[in-house]
Symmetry: C2
Subunit: 355 residues, 2 copies
């Protein structure tokens, strides 16, 4: 059933993703209510209503859910108890707990990819030091990552030789982990796609991502990848979305390996930084696409209108807004964050090139 | 001086234009405060703050202006006293009272066009019945229009023969009027352009407009017009904007006459319905362009990314949102209005065609 314009969509999370989702929802005639753990966040300032509460305050969350027609979670690190609680409130809570639980745990996630027929690097679960020693013997150089709460490169330790193992394991402080074989990739790419409750699926073009210090710096679309690689990426994301019975926008990040091999690295059960270019250069942006999917609407066209290049404004980068505003092929997008911190995502800009 | 992101822009008027301006301002990192004469309007629901007051409540307007860094007027029919009052508060109030006063009075407006070197239909001021009789003798068939408060075809009476004159004059009820010679135009067109305080000027492509019952129904861009007509339209709007020392987005509507003659009909000192396509099909949309100009930023690129066709959803038309949502080349935009009235602008949609 299509949620009618005029309905109220609740968004859990008040950052830039919530902000862009709120504006897309407004364009479709929805009212938006934001639930965030701090007042005056970026999303609240473009929404019709704003609730402040902790993400584990179930009473406040119940009131919030009761005040809206649909709840939408902005980020995947919402506490599992919160996700389960919200799911218990009704069928309209998206994304579902399976997608959240899978995306929150690197081990479950990689297993899920493989079970969906999508290859990944070789990996091993790490609970004890002996596990890591065995994994290093079997897989060679790699990266030790906490299973949970890692994003933008946090909670990751590279292991190059056997003598690194002890310190790396100790650095985890006992957190459950995964050891992943080092992937000598040629490029990193991501695919943003959406799926509706009745199984319709649409993907945006494959993008190429450039990370610095584990944080996305730049996205170029289309990716420099052969057509068959791009279509295998689409089929991989379709398989993952179907197995999750996913509803909404989903991003899967890939390693493009020599010889055209494509390995899924991780997924985000939501709109994603590497899809921000869609707002400037695609017929439907990822934010509207997500709202359409969760509201039971048909998906919009994913046609790309130009060649695009998106760059994040991290921390002090935001100071370049003046010179960016002067460049005629630049579309600037600032998030309205009150305080700047090193590495904090303050905005982004998209350069638009004729096709 | 460029107004810095994080500054607060006040918008007078809470309808769909304010709503789209508010979202464009947010994308540039500004906070938006809406002043409207009713609560819960379309613009308030995407703004960080909302003031409710009458448009002639000067105390409330003073408080509003004091709470923001820049005031922006959404519509041209704001009371003249309000405009003058706001202008007295400081230099940052846009558009200025000259542009508002000119656009509010059809007689001043047509004289202003002619003084700017831009041709119009022949016209005559009407204060008394004898004026109308003389004007009809001189100009033949035409349209009697009130000088003020006419929009969307209201306050207009067509005169075909001498026997119509008496009833037409009486219907005015003594309001100051203008009599305009009938223009047997081939097409109606409009040009949206922007000018900055330091005189930079940029125009979007010329659009063709289809009106029904005096209300804009459909806009197609680019207009089916020879290149020299399109460039004369640009030069006409540039001349008008310069003479007004205009800052912001301005729309001038034209009649395209047989033989390539271009006559200016009226102007709107603001973003305009016939520019809504820019949100879906231009590199910078008219709303962002306006915010850029009034905030002292350089203008964005006006490059059109596709052929576009915008259609208004008037009154019950909005009921077609379901079928529009299913059409893959349609970009739907609903204004979130709580109540539907016949002929009321409830939303619009843009069809996007490859170039």
């Amino acid at each position: 059933m299509m949620l009618a314009p005029g309905s109220r969509i609740g968004i859990l999370g008040g950052g830039q993703l919530g902000r862009m989702l709120a504006m897309a929802a407004a364009r479709l005639g929805f009212d938006v209510s934001i639930y965030n753990d701090a007042p005056d966040g970026p999303a609240s300032r473009v929404a019709s209503e704003s609730h402040v509460g902790a993400f584990d305050d179930l009473d406040a969350l119940r009131d919030f859910a009761a005040s809206v027609d649909l709840v939408k979670v902005e980020f995947e690190n919402v506490p599992a108890a919160t996700a389960a609680f919200l799911a218990s409130l009704g069928p309209l809570i998206r994304p579902g707990p399976l997608a959240l639980a899978t995306a929150q745990d690197r081990l479950l996630e990689k297993r899920f990819f493989n079970e969906s027929g999508v290859p990944t690097v070789a990996f091993a679960p790490i609970a004890a030091r002996a596990d890591l020693e065995a994994a290093f013997s079997a897989l060679g150089a790699g990266i030790l990552k906490t299973r949970r709460n890692g994003y933008d490169g946090r909670g990751q330790i590279r292991i190059r030789e056997a003598s690194d193992v002890g310190a790396a394991f100790d650095a985890l402080g006992g957190a459950p982990a995964i050891y992943e074989q080092l992937a000598p990739f040629e490029r990193e790419a991501s695919l943003i796609a959406a799926r509706t409750a009745d199984g319709a699926f649409a993907a945006f073009d494959l993008c190429e991502n450039i990370h610095e210090d584990g944080i996305l710096r730049r996205t170029v679309c289309p990716a420099m990848a052969p057509a068959d690689v791009a279509s295998r990426a689409v089929e991989a994301v379709r398989a993952i979305a179907e197995r999750l019975d996913y509803v909404g926008v989903l991003c899967v990040e890939f390693f493009l390996m020599p010889g055209g091999v494509l390995l899924a690295n991780e997924m985000a059960p939501r709109v994603h930084n590497s899809g921000h270019w869609t707002e400037a250069g695609a017929q439907t942006c990822q934010f509207e696409q997500h709202i359409r999917a969760v509201a039971g609407w048909p998906l919009g066209a994913t046609t790309r209108l130009a060649r695009v290049e998106m760059e994040n404004l991290l921390g002090a980068d935001v100071g370049s807004w003046r010179s960016l505003a002067e460049q005629s092929n630049v579309r600037l997008h600032l998030y309205g964050k009150r305080t700047m911190r090193e590495g904090r995502k303050m905005g982004h800009f998209t350069r638009i090139w004729p096709r």
